[in-house]
Subunit: 159 residues, 2 copies
Amino acid sequence: MPRTGNKNPFPTVDIIIEIGAPGERPGIVLIRRKNPPFGWALPGGFVEYGESLEEAAVREAHEETSLAVELLGQLHTYSDPGRDPRWHTISTVFIARAEGAPRAADDAREVRIVDPRRVGRRLVFDHGRILADYNAFKEGRPPWTKTSPRTKALSRTAS
Amino acid sequence: MPRTGNKNPFPTVDIIIEIGAPGERPGIVLIRRKNPPFGWALPGGFVEYGESLEEAAVREAHEETSLAVELLGQLHTYSDPGRDPRWHTISTVFIARAEGAPRAADDAREVRIVDPRRVGRRLVFDHGRILADYNAFKEGRPPWTKTSPRTKALSRTAS
């Protein structure tokens, strides 16, 4: 049986939106948050009951950046209980692309297109780590084989 | 703000446990469910608040099959609202390996090691599709680039 209320982590999505001229290495879209924790982050938000992750990703990207994104795929799903200081979220991260100019809306105060290789440490939540995984993925190392030290320790403990 | 109660989908994990002699193509572990919907399925279950997906995967694999698994990575995260007839779950699927003989316990009535290429259509939930994705992955086609027809339609609608 599933638990109700705060006994379940909250599913969320974050979206790495690639944008740029054909042939160029793409920039990605960051938003400056209107709510705490303040700072720069990937666009994203909570998944509604009855909504797929893919629907949530397209909806949240549009709400915060005004862009109509095309999803390219899932990068990874992040679930460390400390990744959000407020509550336990589990975020599935999508890579997407869009054309046109983003415009901040909803929970985003400002929006910017940046070089993903130059922003990692200044982001809120675990979005710096997510961008590091994305940059590694773009260089041919998919995160699917990544097991955190914590996971490895846990596997050994269980045996 | 996250919604409480049944306004959020429930995060779950399912685990594809590879087992077999070195050098052989591995079999995978299926369980026969003690609770409805009855039938054969991948081991798995709900993620607890404060528990990572990786911890949940190791715990659920052990509870249902008595195996101490080593996680190899995430395959994909499945979120179609109709994938479970009872409620909306979002399942992150792991590939893992284990040694020894599985023994049914907890929610599993029976356990079996099967050839993953020969079981797809007889499984409950969307586990047949998951195994099809797993088989494709083992042949070099990772599901990360997969976008469902529904997603494609949605991307077009949003533009």
